[in-house]
């Protein structure tokens, strides 16, 4: 593993919302103060519940959304400074796989034509080799050669997701943002796509930002994990540490409330986190998690706890942070 390929510094995105007809716009921060790095060959998992800002983060890392504060650096260049044709050339190196395999493919064009787009735009291969390259890509993601002539509606969800991955791979990217790529798929199909992503990461030395709410999949696939809550990172570190002995109480709650095939000793009721995600329009003072936290104390309301290092490369934003072994079967 070399140095970081993608770096985010103090990333924040504000969606001001007006309340009522005459109300003044109020700040609604979807993402706040996020620092991230992704290295080549590394898969960084972003987990969190809906509304925690993980998709917004993914779009900003891709340069699809402009951050309100902070910056994203790709291979040493600030995405905000690169414009026009140069920006489009840079786009070759970063690709995205979307959640909904039914919405992410153009229903009116054949699968082969959509995979070939990237090849044509960036002149990846000479034009007489395009058909050959499309076949190679479809084969790489495990689709049959005759599928290139078909249109997206003739495929099942898992096959479409393979097409979307083939399209993303066509430009030979260095960095892929996968926004919930397996959430819409059936369990048996999900395993196919997860295996495919693991193979590709190894074969192509890809840097990947894998956004998901499914902790089992993230744990299986990712080297490093970022846990988000209400737009902020609450814990970040190696997968084994974060999911093995989580330091932040939210990570613990998330792990404990995720259903498991293996029955656990404690009854379900004892592991349930009370309450719901606070509104981002009106976030609690201090630690955003304190309203639901089982170990909160008055000091938590004072200030937003900084991400403090636990061990090498492992940080948590909690004044009472500390590794706790939880009753999750290995």
């Amino acid at each position: 593993m070399t140095g970081p390929l993608v770096q985010a510094h103090g990333l924040g995105r504000n969606f001001p919302m007006r309340q009522g007809l005459l109300g003044r716009p109020r700040d609604v921060w979807a993402v706040r103060d996020v620092d991230l790095t992704v290295a080549r060959g590394e898969t960084l998992g972003v987990v969190g519940e809906s509304g925690c800002g993980k998709s917004t983060l993914g779009r900003m890392m891709m340069g699809l959304d402009a951050p309100t504060t902070g910056s994203v650096e790709f291979d040493g260049r600030d995405l905000a400074d690169v414009k026009g044709g140069e920006r489009r050339r840079l786009a070759r190196r970063m690709q995205m796989v979307f959640q909904d395999p039914f919405g992410s493919l153009d229903p009116r064009r054949s699968v082969g034509a959509q995979i070939a787009d990237g090849l044509r735009i960036h002149n990846i291969v000479p034009s007489d080799k395009i058909a050959e390259e499309v076949l190679r890509l479809t084969e790489q993601v495990g689709l049959s050669p005759e599928s290139v002539r078909r249109r997206p509606h003739e495929f099942s969800g898992g096959q479409r997701q393979r097409v979307a991955i083939a399209r993303a791979l066509a430009t030979r990217p260095d960095f892929i943002v996968a926004d919930e790529p397996v959430s819409a798929l059936d369990v048996s199909i999900q395993a196919q796509v997860v295996n495919l992503l693991m193979d590709l990461r190894q074969d192509l030395d890809l840097a990947m930002l894998f956004i998901s709410h499914d902790l089992h999949v993230v744990r299986h696939l990712c080297n490093r994990i970022v846990v988000m809550y209400l737009g902020r990172i609450v814990e970040e570190g190696p997968a084994a540490k974060v999911f093995g002995t989580p330091a932040h109480p939210y990570t613990r709650a998330l792990l404990e409330s995720t259903p498991s095939l293996e029955p656990r000793h404690a009854a379900l009721g004892d592991r349930v986190l009370p309450g719901e995600l606070p509104s981002p329009m009106n976030p609690p003072s201090g630690c955003p998690f304190r309203t639901r936290c089982p170990i909160a104390e008055p000091a938590c309301a004072q200030a937003v706890p900084p991400l403090t290092p636990q061990e090498d490369g492992w940080r948590a934003a909690c004044i009472k942070a500390g590794p706790v072994k939880i009753a999750e079967p290995a």
Binding site: R88, P107, I121, I189, H216, S257, S260, P274
Partner: protein, 622 residues
């Protein structure tokens, strides 16, 4: 050639004949349109003049064809010109937004504020009558219509993932507009096109009729109508011909655009047609509630139930021979992938199957509160209404869609209670608040007055559950009730189901889900379904500890839990109902399949007294 393409033949043929006639007019053996024959004026159709002669004795047929040349040229020409300009403006405005939107779409909207006929009159008055000023006037008139339609469609399409994917790929905006956005906004564009051509023909005729369009003696349909109006008493047929031509051409064009639109849709158009026009179903006639002396054991006993789809191509069996029982106080999970028939099974038990589906075999015996036994598969809608809520109740996946958005939570809950109880307002209110408190909705006294959109996803699901348990049903069917929820909220709702069951003695719960981990958390018994069939059944802990069907085993191994480096992926996909493999439906995807598997449908085997599996090799391979 598919159905949509076949339907194109008729309008295309008529349009081709019209086009050929007007285009080939100079070469056809037609009489000179200006050749007058005063003695023969107003003469009726004859072998020489097929459609008769007009007020100057000119040949009507020839004038009709040449007139169509002028009318169609103006209408289609201006419609096309307006389409090109308007589409460009709309695309640019919708895609780039901001400043571009102001100078394109908003600017063209100013034209929409002017009365159309006056605007056309203005242009024609300034530039003088004639073909080209008319085209210019009509183009100016219709450009904003296109711009608006295209702008709205572009706004919709640009936010879709596949357009974002093109941006992410580094495609040039012009390329994205031409290759991705434009083809996807074609349907509304074509509709607009057909409307504009029709309307342009009418306005052209109108202006020519007023003497501001085509200049005589050049024929046009509008001019012909104008001339014929004055001679209506002498020869009414003169009015009929151009009117017929006008109406026929407009209708043809509308039909062509409509059918073109459905032919261009890559997904193909389904048969369609009104529900009540569909063929009568040969489902067994609803029999009155079969009251049999109750056997006091199972709450629900489903035996060999099948569900069929009545498609145009014949009957398709979507669910085949499903059997299971639910004991009082028991939770049975029905688990399977999409297309396994698990949801249909749940819907069938509440009589909520869509109209095109029906139960085609088997029984579903349910023991009611008063000790009688009814067969749920034979009930009609009226009989079900008395059962629903009080005996059998259902919780859906999407609470946002299942709750009525314009009624307050308290009203919907009250409605459910009133359906089976006759109580006064004060008692009803107390009961509603108690129910909301029971399902753990915070601050129930004020939540009674909330609308569904004011609640969060988890709270809506709680409200849904409150509606479902309002009348203390004996059997609760929950269809993926936690799938759309976040992990911490899902855990809350699962706990709620558990508590409800503990509090309500003897209530059976059928929990339909695709999530094996949820099954492990909540259920006592599990039924695994695949491609419309039950493949395995038994107590949850036993089935998960030692699955006796290869599909269950593979499904469990494909869950990314535990330390395996590589997940076990089941190759291939679930077969579609049209293409069911012979014999065991899982055989084509099964690692252990042998020739005998595809020979015949495997029988149910019993590895243990309370276990069932539909695999002929269960002893060797599991």
């Amino acid at each position: 050639m598919n159905r949509a393409q076949r339907k194109l033949i008729l309008p295309t043929a008529i349009a081709a004949i019209i086009a050929a006639l007007v285009l080939l007019a100079p070469f056809l053996p037609l009489a000179d349109v200006r050749l007058m024959d005063i003695p023969g004026r107003f003469s009726a159709p004859s072998s020489e003049h097929w459609l008769g002669q007009d007020e100057f004795g000119r040949d009507v047929l020839s004038r009709l064809i040449w007139g169509g040349r002028a009318s169609l040229f103006i209408a289609i020409g201006s419609a096309l010109a307006a389409a090109v300009i308007g589409t460009t403006l709309g695309l640019l405005g919708g895609f780039f937004r901001g400043f571009v939107e102001v100078i394109t779409v908003r600017f063209s909207e100013v034209i929409l504020c002017l009365p159309p006929l006056l605007l056309a009159l203005l242009v024609v008055t300034i530039l003088g009558a004639g073909t080209w000023p008319l085209i210019l006037a009509l183009t100016l008139l219709y450009t904003p219509n296109y711009a608006r339609v295209v702008y709205a469609a572009t706004l919709q399409v640009r936010s879709l993932d596949f357009v974002t994917a093109q941006t992410a790929m580094g495609a040039h905006p012009v390329q994205i507009l031409a290759r991705t956005v434009l083809p996807n906004i074609l349907p509304p564009l074509l509709v607009q096109m057909s409307l504009v051509v029709a309307s342009a023909m009418v306005i052209e005729s109108g202006l020519s009729f007023l003497g501001l369009g085509v200049v005589p003696p050049t024929p046009s349909w509008g001019l012909m109508i104008r001339a014929a109006r004055g001679a209506m008493e002498q020869q009414w047929l003169l009015l009929v011909w151009p009117s017929l031509a006008l109406a026929g051409t407009i209708l043809t064009f509308n039909l062509l655009c409509d059918r073109l639109q459905s032919a261009l849709d890559p997904r193909g158009v389904t048969g369609g047609g009104a529900l009540w026009l569909r063929r009568g179903r040969n489902a067994p006639a609803p029999t009155p509630v079969a009251k049999v002396a109750a056997e006091a054991d199972a709450l629900l006993r489903v035996e060999d139930m099948s569900i069929r789809l009545h498609a145009e191509t014949g009957m398709i069996e979507l669910v085949r021979g499903v059997s299971f029982t639910v004991m009082p106080g028991e939770t049975r999970a029905i688990v399977g992938e999409s297309g396994s028939g698990k949801t249909l099974t749940g819907l069938a038990l509440t009589g909520l199957l869509p109209d095109v589906l029906s139960i085609s075999g088997g029984r579903a015996l349910f023991n009611t509160r008063d000790g009688t036994q009814v067969d749920l598969s034979k009930l009609d809608e009226d009989a079900f209404r008395t059962l629903r809520g009080r005996e059998v109740s259902m919780v859906f996946q999407d609470a946002a869609a299942a709750l009525n958005p314009v009624l307050r939570i308290g009203e919907q809950l009250g409605e459910a209670i009133r359906a089976h109880n006759d109580i006064d307002d004060a008692a009803l209110n107390k009961r509603v608040v108690a129910l909301l408190r029971q399902v753990g909705l915070p601050d129930p006294e004020s939540r009674v007055r909330s609308y569904p959109h004011e609640l969060s996803g988890g709270q809506r699901q709680r409200a849904m559950i409150a509606v479902a348990v309002a009348n203390e049903p004996r059997l609760l069917i929950a269809d993926e009730p936690t799938t759309a929820l976040d992990p911490t909220i899902q855990a809350q709702i699962l706990t709620l189901f558990q508590t409800l069951k503990d509090e309500t003695e003897g209530m059976g719960l059928i929990f339909v889900t695709h999530d094996l981990a949820v099954v492990a958390e909540i259920a006592d018994q599990v039924t695994v379904m695949y491609a419309g069939e039950v493949v395995e059944e038994g107590p949850v802990d036993q089935v998960f500890a030692r699955p006796r069907h290869p599909y269950t085993a593979a499904l469990i191994a494909s869950v990314p839990e535990g330390g395996a480096d590589r997940l076990v992926a089941i190759p291939g996909t679930v077969p579609t109902p049209h293409n069911m493999p012979p014999g065991c439906r899982f055989a084509p995807r099964c690692d252990h399949a042998i020739a005998a598997c595809s020979a015949a449908m495997p029988d149910i085997e019993r590895p243990a007294p309370d276990r069932r599996t539909r695999c002929i090799r269960w002893e060797e391979v599991t």
